[in-house]
């Protein structure tokens, strides 16, 4: 993969050639194909999808439904009816917690891991408060591993929902979703997989993993903000009640009641983000043109470089695994004596974009006994020079904060 050619596909790097963007776990940059797809929709295809009978409305509907088919193919869903467009992974998780959550009752259990993002914690806390179901956590080790043994101990015959991230947004660790989903099914639970950090970087196939639900955000995978996906197995989605109600999700309405539209529309109340869906389609086509073999190879190479460069910075401590490949391009670290926000400020002065704070994972931070960290996260379009600049700036931080080495 030629990084110069790749960067030419991203207008922001042409606008800002010296940009060192290492906050990809927060959101990715967008290739011109995605930006053009959104622009094309509004310039040439814009009408309210699923509504009008005129040609333009028909075209807008086709844009939306073709995008749905592309998404279904991308994650290996059996049918496009299993693809619900949402705003983001957070909304998808709320949908499942609210709608599937209506089946839970007092005494049931919900199982999540300590390494979840707040978006995969709070909806379950709320469901627990509503239903009386107990929210339980499976712990991870200091290097970020959830063992099969720990998972078996946390699981019980009362577990009705298991929800877990595939890749940690803090540690970069990848969880063995296929095994955990199988164990969850044996216990009679459904399995929700948070793919926000995995779908943008590795091939994810819902039938291969045998997960019941998969959620992810478009904006972390080259697509626009405001478009996300919920995949759900058809038989589950069919028996679940709607989440949001209103227009375009009904079949028939009288003064006092309504019947619901077919899947997937039952879960897509109101006008959907068709331009966002068009952008997501363009993003997926960009991934497919590059191929995950090339993307994975490139990101593994950058991960090795980053791990070695960060390990060579004095006083720096990487959280999680000691193996570069276990990080999946996500590196959280601390620097002795310097608060993460001060590190971020100094790196910003050097033009390096990284994240500092608790990364919406306060439960994990408490578990690891670290109030906050700095996080650098990679994507295939990053350059060797980005990592070199990161390491060089980090080496100067303590001096610039007044420490005499």
């Amino acid at each position: 993969m030629n990084s110069t050619n790749i960067r030419n596909d991203f207008p922001i790097f042409l606008e800002k050639p010296s940009l060192v963007y290492l906050d990809n776990a927060a959101t990715s940059q967008k290739p011109s194909g995605v930006i053009e797809a959104v622009s094309r929709f509004y310039k040439r295809q814009n009408a309210n999808p699923l509504r009008g009978l005129y040609d333009l409305a028909q075209e807008a509907t086709e844009v939306l439904e073709e995008s749905r088919e592309i998404v279904a193919g991308f994650i290996g869903a059996e049918s496009p009816k299993e693809i619900i467009f949402t705003r983001n992974a957070t909304e998808s998780l709320n949908l499942v917690a609210y709608s599937y959550g209506t089946f839970l009752k007092e005494g049931d259990e919900i199982l999540i891991s300590v390494m979840e993002h707040h978006s995969n914690i709070i909806p379950w806390q709320q469901l627990s408060a509503r239903s009386g179901a107990v929210l339980k956590y499976v712990e991870c080790s200091g290097d970020g591993q959830i063992t099969e043994e720990a998972f078996r101990v946390a699981l019980s015959p009362r577990t009705k929902i298991v929800s877990m991230t595939q890749i940690s947004n803090v540690l970069g660790t990848q969880n063995d979703i296929r095994t955990f989903a199988r164990l969850a099914h044996e216990a009679g639970a459904v399995f929700v997989c948070d793919g926000a950090q995995s779908v943008p970087h590795i091939p994810v196939n819902v039938q291969d993993l045998d997960v019941d639900f998969l959620v992810f955000s478009g904006h972390k995978m080259l697509a626009p903000m405001g478009i996300g996906v919920l995949y759900g197995k058809k038989e589950l989605l069919e028996k679940m009640p709607p989440f949001l109600t209103g227009g375009e999700m009904i079949e028939y309405v009288t003064r006092s009641e309504a019947t619901w539209a077919e899947l997937p529309h039952k879960f897509e109340a109101g006008t959907v983000n068709a331009a966002g869906a068009a952008g997501l389609r363009a993003a997926i086509e960009y991934y497919q043109a590059l191929g995950f073999d090339a993307i994975t190879e490139r990101e593994e190479y950058l991960s090795e470089l980053a791990f070695d460069a960060l390990s060579a910075v004095p006083h720096l401590h990487i959280l999680g695994s000691n193996e570069a490949k276990e990080h999946n391009g996500i590196f959280s670290f601390t620097l002795d004596g310097v608060h993460p926000h001060d590190i971020a400020e100094i790196l910003n002065a050097d033009g390096v974009c990284i994240r500092a704070g608790h990364h919406c994972a306060q439960v994990l931070m408490q578990h690891l006994n670290t109030p906050s960290t700095v996080r650098a996260s990679l994507a295939f379009y990053n350059r060797k020079e980005d990592i070199e600049q990161l390491a060089e700036s980090l080496k100067s931080v303590r001096r610039r904060m007044g420490y005499v080495e």
């Binding site: 608060h339 926000h341 002065a349 500092a356 704070g357 904060m401 007044g402």
Partner: protein, 138 residues
Amino acid sequence: MSNSFYREIINEHNLHPIHKRILPRAGLSRRGVNPSCGDDITLQLTIEDGVIKEGAYSGNGCAISQASADMMLDLVIGKTPEEARHLSDIFFRMIKGKVTDEELEELEEAGSLQDVSHMPARVKCAVLSWHTLENMLE
């Protein structure tokens, strides 16, 4: 490499604070927290005969939050609560970019945080100790 905001004065107060300790018998004690970034300080004051006689802070956070607390205590110890409130009013206006040169002088070293007015993400760090003080004196 461009110049960063961290000047000697802030680094010095962060690395070698004068007032970072615990007062065993403080009359007033109040905690201030920035939940989004984790700055967490506890401010303690003893007021005797209408004057802030002793002051200290403890806790942890970024250099700006810690240095700001230390510089604030430098200023307000020995002052009356009214004078302290007058200074906090100037400090808040400095952060909003609405302060005169004469007023800035009253802030002494705390005036070195003036550049925070151009750094929206760090405002809450700089004002944490001052807000805590204001709440305390209410």
